[in-house]
Symmetry: D2
Subunit: 285 residues, 4 copies
């Protein structure tokens, strides 16, 4: 029998770095969690433990700190570009063919004060994560994707689901007015690796949330497409967007066995199982 290594990658994951920029009257805070992966001509390491073409993952970690110190990294996208550049142009690592840099950020919010935003105090903005993934293969252009993940939203009305297929295992009743709760997960592709990414992110975020809130939903699928179209309409620099909307079910409790009537008022939240709806919306060529 004979075998071959048909794919490979190695790197450092979950490198967390905080950068504070002390401007007069105001501190900027940027916190990122970085994953780096290299792929390419590393077969000798896998086959024989020859490490002479391997930059240690510990060095990748140090490099994240060093590059954060030397560059402005005001957005995940800016940092991903810096990281891709560094590793792909690294003279000592010629065997790297593809670099993959993934940058994730939480949402720190400046503390509101009567005098406006606080100059140096922040409150965590919750589970929402902003992400960026830069990928570059030697000799090709960089691919830059970004995402908004884990943003939980809920509306108490303007959502229906009816007139679906009924088979022998269907017990779900039609609903004309149900709670719609979901965790927004969206990933989009930029046409270009330059731009005002922070402004774009806020436009994407507003388009997603506002469309979710305002849409008269006949299905999660329909709302998903409306959300995607709203993003593409608001952001010309985005070429396509993939959205995943896992249900955060609020199921009406059957109160009849308890001698009570549920006037669409009492619901139980269940974590599992959950419906999971996905779609990719692209510009028509």
């Amino acid at each position: 029998m004979s075998f071959e290594l048909t794919e490979n990658f190695y790197g450092k994951s979950s490198v967390r770095v905080t950068k504070v920029t002390r401007l007069p009257g105001r501190h900027e805070l940027h916190e990122y969690e970085v994953d780096i992966r290299l792929s390419g001509g590393f077969e000798a390491c896998y086959a024989a433990g020859d490490n002479t073409m391997v930059l240690p993952t510990d060095t990748m970690k140090n490099t994240v700190y060093a590059l954060a110190a030397q560059h402005e990294i005001a957005s995940p996208e800016a940092f991903a570009v810096v990281l891709c550049d560094h590793f792909l142009k690294h003279e000592l690592v010629p065997n790297c063919q593809t670099i993959w840099a993934y940058v994730k950020a939480g949402r720190w919010q400046r503390l509101d004060t009567p005098a406006g935003n606080h100059p140096h105090a922040f409150v965590s903005g919750g589970a929402e994560k902003r992400t960026c993934c830069g990928t570059q293969t030697r000799g090709a252009a960089m691919t830059l994707e970004a995402g908004l993940n884990d943003l939980v939203v809920l509306k108490t009305t303007d959502s229906a689901f009816r007139d679906f297929i009924r088979d022998q295992y269907t017990t779900l009743p039609d609903s004309d007015d149900r709670i719609f709760a979901t965790t927004i997960n969206a990933d989009w592709r930029y046409a270009d690796s330059a731009g005002d990414f922070n402004a774009t992110y806020e436009r994407v975020r507003a388009a997603l949330i506002d469309t979710f809130a305002g849409h008269k939903s006949l299905s999660v699928q329909q709302t998903l497409q409306a959300m995607g179209e709203a993003v593409l309409t608001a952001c010309p620099s985005i070429t396509e967007i993939s959205i995943r909307l896992p249900n955060q079910h609020r199921i009406p409790v059957n109160l009849q066995p308890l001698g009570l009537q549920n006037k669409n008022e009492i619901f139980v939240t269940t974590s599992e199982p959950y419906g999971n709806i996905g779609g990719t919306i692209s510009r028509k060529r």
Copy 2:
């Protein structure tokens, strides 16, 4: 050998219930996760499997839904009081001596719109949890405690730690200007089981955050006491408050081995180990 049951409790945990109140022009949303525990004369069940004095935990779950339907439950405190009342006065469960009702709530925030708060769309407010624990023993007054937990805050300056004990294992340098990040966990006791608990919660929250942000900190301990005193000052209905402030360390990266200088700018976030500071502040009698 002979043994005895010296303590007992049983109940239902993580009962999640959502209540939507459809007011004209505006929906109210209340979501709680409830734990119920009963304790008392249940020895025969433990000793011999005699269930005749046992109300099933499944019934406790149903009861949470039923009481949510029949009562206004505009705060965790209000719901905890309803739950304690129900179980302690339950004619069929005379063996229950002590009831313990714990109610936890996330922080749903109405979506901001140009026209003001959205009438029925909400965004999850993150990891912060509001809690309430009502405890009542037959023949005694109810004890009502509440809490704010898992609120992550960070400030980039106005925090020092110096002039501490140095022993043979101490390597930490003095610091005059460090990042102070922590997860606020506060639990307080009410003098009374009535009051406008929602207004009190917002006052507690503001006192904790504003004091954290504004305090010139010489130690986490000192900031903790200032935060507790601010709460007691702002809220006469609170008799004492326990605060726990686990560090969310941001450790300056030593860039010297990388040929760079760290101007108090680049930090690594570590999840573990972490410093953990606690204290209880009470009114002087």
Copy 3:
């Protein structure tokens, strides 16, 4: 208004340390996660940021490593005793009145090989955690408690629950043969701070599991008491044991609406809500 600090503690949490002892032909592996808390005369730090009586939590972390290097730490109990001793006798920290050392360990299992146990390769034993908590106040004897937590067990028969209280909200049917699944959480107290703690732990573990498996259960409560009595019977050095058995519900699926019959064969696992049963079994005096 005037306030006072009525309780205080500070320390380091989640200090993880691994010790490898390289014996001829066999390596010993001990991995612990340690929490240290000091309490006592630290009011000046809370009131005024005076750190002169404060040993930094960073030093506590270093101390965990230093003590692990200098002592045999073959059990969580042994390490807890070393830690309590060190901090309470520390000449530079006279303000510490009470030391609390909590040591947690996972369950590494030596790899089985045809030739017996592997000399240096281990497989993680799952979620089960062994814990020990030593507490000592200046001038008093040490209290030593230990625990077994997060051990998930399931039996498919020999469990019933019937003849319980039925009120207007009860919908649960009697069951003569249900699945019994739970997460064993047990914490016990030793009469003495010396002993062969590793052997005792294995006896406790076997008593808990074997009793769970063999008991003809009329209620979770009854099985809990039987498990506690089995431990006290097997381990004379244990004076009392508290057990908590949260249900890991397997609920029979109602297949009738699907045109099928469920012959006590198909169940759905739910994470929440869950029944939660606790009790403390003590030796009769």
Copy 4:
């Protein structure tokens, strides 16, 4: 502007089902967590909320229970095949072009007793997950992949890493004898959708663990390739295997500042950042 839906899927996730088969003298236990996804001609639902071609995800959940009742599901693979068959042949859902069924199982272990394996009591086997993913597009053959995930292993010796690239950011020293701990994640592809999958799984598992334990490792990459080759050698029905080995770092503690020497004995476990090594080993054609 004009947009189009270029990808779509919807389904139900985390459907948990337990099946108990009550054989004389011995109960079989099978527990699975199932994800179902359908993809195909669902554009009208996304574009216009037309649900007439949509089978509800709630029905998918019910279907998991119904199929578990009607079929022998002695392996994740067997269940995945049943699920793919059902949905792709469903006469009422002709718009489904591709079905994706993912089945995950924990590792229940029969309780050891002096008399052998217990007939109906089980202990949870920890974090290890066995997975299977069946994918089928109308008119094509089913693709069947399986996996072993989250199995944590550690060896205290026979691991080195040296003679790697050193750049200006490299601080890692060479090591000739380090701890090697990792979480095994392996996913493989079967040549065929029939076979004794339970026996194959045990052979894969043994090949992975035994190779990890016995390999004289010069790098994680080298051990990874050896593990993959061992699986392909042991299991002719597997055509290729992808392995990912995230480091579970045990980093030697520098005890010199504490006045002590670390004789390769004391290590700190860190969760992040972590090295992450991946590779795919295929049979040479």
